[in-house]
């Protein structure tokens, strides 16, 4: 049976509630933040472990390690929650590919959940017992946690990669015509792609460290020597990290299926140039620029990567006749309005309140008293939430009554 026709039949029969391009843009956009926190989490975990092993050589390592343990812990929470959105939007427009790939490696998809729970708990134990000072004999927790985080990354990579190889699905599901419904194998791993994406953890945490040094410049309890130490480390990681990533990217660039012609695609080469550009930028400008600016550059690289992933997917699926623009559309305006109103209204005010509060409180040594802006934002956040809930119930009750008692 032709897999291209099958994929089109496997699309959800309900169609899409908005134009597919909207979901595509949201999928790309939200993945940028997800992968940024993946890199921060892995990079912070790496620095924390390295710092732990070197804590006797230099006291700054101990302090930085303690900070990075916390950063990794919070980042894993954020990467999970931020990963929900791209996962959701992927399932909207690439449901046949995503579900087929998951079913074919189902045991691993489920294993992902449990290994992630174990990894996070181990990291939390590492964090919990390393308050204020690094204690001996705990590093095993961190190493196992980091190894499991990397394994989870590999599982996610495999599920994504298998999804764009529909021509192989039947061979994996029924090799030589004999069915295997166990879902117990990871069928296709593109190691160079996986290594490239994981390698970005080093330069991204490098950029984070440069911003970290800048953020705490205002606080007296962060001595200039310590901040300089963090910044220097950040610069080294950024320079070396982007350099290694550029080499790996080159390997990936020549590893695409020859049928796709992706090797000649300008965006791929633009990413390569951007990676090299970041190496030189980190070397030359990091000391002159504001500490947050390099982070913006890193976000730019990740944005290009997010778009590149989507172009790769499009090109791999093109020969099978799968195009998201051919998905049937049944526009559902009320729920579209609900999302965007919630994103802008609630995400903007409540999220804005939390982030501003955290930002300002973090820069304050000792007790923090809210500024007028934060105070107003807090009041506004509660007001918006209350209004949202009242509107939700009023609207819902009207529909509910109309459907069950009037119509």
């Amino acid at each position: 049976m032709d897999i291209g026709s099958a994929m089109n039949a496997m699309r959800d029969v309900a169609g899409l509630p908005a134009h597919p391009i909207i979901f595509q843009i949201l999928m790309i956009f939200t993945w940028i933040f997800h992968i940024a926190f993946v890199h921060i989490a892995l990079g912070a975990a790496g620095v924390a472990i390295y710092g732990y092993h070197n804590r006797h050589k230099n006291p700054h390592w101990e302090r930085l390690s303690l900070a990075m343990i916390k950063v990794a812990k919070v980042s894993v929470s954020l990467l999970i929650v931020l990963g929900v959105a791209p996962l959701l939007f992927t399932q909207v427009i690439y449901d046949p590919q995503w579900y087929a790939s998951n079913v074919l490696s189902a045991a691993w998809a489920i294993g992902f959940i449990f290994t992630l729970i174990i990894a996070y708990c181990l990291w939390f134990i590492f964090y919990y017992f390393n308050h204020g000072v690094l204690r001996p004999n705990l590093i095993g927790y961190a190493w196992i946690a980091l190894a499991l985080f990397c394994l989870d990354g590999l599982i996610m990579h495999t599920l994504s990669y298998q999804a764009i190889l529909p021509g192989e699905w039947m061979n994996w599901y029924a090799p030589d015509g004999v069915l295997d419904m166990s879902g117990s194998k990871l069928h296709a791993i593109q190691w160079i792609r996986y290594l490239f994406i994981i390698s970005l953890s080093a330069p991204i945490i490098g950029l984070f460290l440069i911003a970290y040094a800048q953020y705490f410049a205002i606080r007296d309890d962060f001595a200039p020597e310590y901040r300089q130490f963090a910044k220097d480390l950040g610069q080294t990681l950024t320079t070396v990290g982007f350099g290694i990533a550029a080499i790996l990217f080159l390997g990936w660039q020549f590893n695409h299926s020859s049928a796709t012609n992706l090797v000649l695609h300008p965006l791929g080469w633009l990413i390569f140039i951007a990676l090299i550009g970041m190496v030189f930028a980190a070397q030359r400008f990091a000391t002159k620029l504001h500490g947050y600016l390099p982070l913006v550059g890193g976000l730019g690289v990740l944005t290009l990567l997010a778009i590149w992933r989507e172009i790769i997917r499009i090109e791999y699926l093109r020969p099978f006749g799968y195009f998201i623009t051919e998905y049937s559309v049944n526009v559902d305006l009320p729920s579209i309005m609900l999302f965007f109103a919630t994103l802008i209204g609630l995400g903007g005010t409540v999220g804005g309140f939390y982030l501003t509060l955290l930002y300002q409180a973090g820069q304050t040594q000792g007790h923090y008293t809210a500024t007028k802006l934060v105070d107003k934002l807090g009041t506004f956040a509660i007001a918006i939430l209350t209004l949202w809930i009242i509107t939700f119930f009023t609207y819902g009750i009207v529909i509910w009554l109309a459907n069950y008692f009037i119509v």
Partner: protein
């Protein structure tokens, strides 16, 4: 090309994918209900601390918050997507149906969820480090945002059971799907339950408190909230079962209540006695008792609840238009959806399913057993294990270990073909496919080594092919 959009099948022997989903679901329900409930308990406690100038209560919040962070936000935030993964591999068309109906609702829930995760860190780490008024605003906004996630997910979960009337099938509107008949009842159950579970977690933390006055004050504050929440949840449950469809009522009375009724009543009585005792004699609340009761109530209370909720949907997984076995059961004009049962009845799964190996598309003497097994797995394994004695409603036991293929075929061509069993899907297949399933099930019930027989028959078929 004539094809139905079915996916490959993941088969988990004995427990099926249903239990995999159930196990992750129970962990998630306990964790997420704790998270939302605790958010409100935080807000109440902190308001009390603020109004009564009782900063010692803030220490309890800090302690409780740390536990909450580890338990709810680590476990809950991972098992949330975990349920997604589980239903993706167990019922890909089911979850696809939900996502394509509710993507914007889910996306809105994600906004709340993101805010919530940032909020929980802010709440715990800024406690005592910022002014009390601002922290109180933070805590209340966190509680409201947490409840927001519940408001949004409950509409989707209750639609899984059914929309409640014909409107949605005609309009296809998310409004009609989301604010379905049992939405408010379901929301009530979950809101009450979240207060109970959060109270149980709160008592666990309070039981470790060494300062007796603080311990008593916290327990006396929490216990009545848990009791009230439990009472409200039970009332809403009684209302809820008035809002469910006929097939669910049938399933409830025929299969579920006989198994779970006494366990549920026992959990309710035990929880009420425990919370009343804690309220009355808070100083005697010990940590082993608190942990034991938490485990008892969350396992023996939530597992039956999740099993009942999942089983009551049978034979559907979504909105009474997607069968558990992933086949679209009916037309939904509002979404231009056409039912697939008749098409499959005419042409057969072997011809229409995209993931059938070519050598099994035509039934022969040398592959009948294998085809029968394959078809039984596709059509039945979402709800039934295929192994005799297995815990997931295993088919051999359901068929009373019948060894006569004709008798099994008679059931398949009778009640099942005509959809006469209210909690079973209408499975109407061509005669040859029915015979293959019956042949396979009879062989299993006869205690034959089906795996070995299939291997032998496959070898024989290859031999014949080579000879020809």
């Amino acid at each position: 090309m004539d094809v139905v959009g079915m996916y490959p099948t993941w088969y988990v022997p004995n427990i099926g994918t249903a239990w995999v989903m159930g196990i992750i679901g129970v962990i998630h329900v306990v964790a997420s209900h704790t998270a939302v409930g605790a958010a409100f308990l935080f807000a109440f406690l902190e308001t009390k601390a603020y109004q009564e100038n009782a900063p010692q209560l803030l220490n309890f919040i800090k302690k409780y918050g740390m536990f909450l962070l580890v338990f709810s936000y680590i476990i809950g935030s991972i098992t949330g997507p975990g349920i997604w993964y589980a239903i993706s591999v167990a019922s890909p068309r089911g979850v696809g149906g939900l996502i394509h109906n509710f993507v914007w609702i889910w996306a809105a829930e994600w906004v709340f969820f993101t805010v919530e995760v940032i909020g929980v860190y802010a709440l715990i780490y800024l406690l005592g480090k910022i002014d009390a008024k601002t922290h109180l605003k933070l805590t209340w906004s966190f509680a409201l945002a947490s409840w927001g996630t519940m408001l949004l997910i409950v509409g989707i979960l209750s639609f899984m059971l059914w929309p409640g009337n014909e409107n949605w099938y005609q309009t296809g509107s998310t409004n009609d799907a989301f604010f379905n008949l049992n939405f408010f009842a379901h929301l009530g159950i979950r809101t009450g339950s979240m207060l109970v579970i959060a109270t149980l977690v709160g008592l666990m933390v309070a039981s470790t408190e060494k300062e007796l006055a603080l311990k008593a004050s916290v327990v006396k504050f929490l216990a009545p909230i848990g009791l009230g929440g439990g009472f409200f949840a039970v009332m809403m449950f009684l209302y809820y079962i008035r809002t469910i469809p006929d097939n669910s009522v049938e399933m409830l009375h025929a299969h579920l209540l006989p198994v779970y009724e006494y366990a549920m009543i026992a959990v309710f009585i035990a929880a009420t006695l425990y919370l009343s005792f804690a309220w009355w004699q808070p100083k005697y609340l010990s940590t082993p008792l608190a942990i034991g009761m938490f485990l008892f109530i969350s396992i023996f209370g939530v597992w039956p609840e999740e099993r009942i909720r999942e089983s009551m949907r049978k034979p559907y997984v979504v909105g009474q238009y997607v069968y558990s076995n992933q086949i679209i059961s009916r037309d939904v004009p509002g979404k231009n959806i056409t039912g697939e049962v008749d098409k499959i009845a005419k042409k057969g799964l072997l011809a229409l399913h995209p993931f059938i190996p070519q050598r099994l598309r035509v039934i022969t003497d040398n592959n009948r057993l294998e085809v029968g097994k394959l078809l039984a797995t596709i059509a039945c394994s979402n709800c039934h294990a295929l192994e005799p004695g297995a815990p997931l409603r295993n088919i051999p036991d359901k068929l009373h270990r019948a060894t006569d293929a004709d008798m099994i075929a008679a059931f398949l061509t009778g009640a099942l073909r005509h959809g006469a069993q209210p909690y079973m899907p209408r499975i109407d297949l061509p005669e040859a496919e029915i015979q293959a399933i019956a042949h396979y099930l009879a062989a299993v019930n006869q205690g034959q080594n089906v795996k070995r027989l299939i291997v032998e028959q496959r070898a024989a078929a290859i031999k014949m092919q080579v000879a020809n």
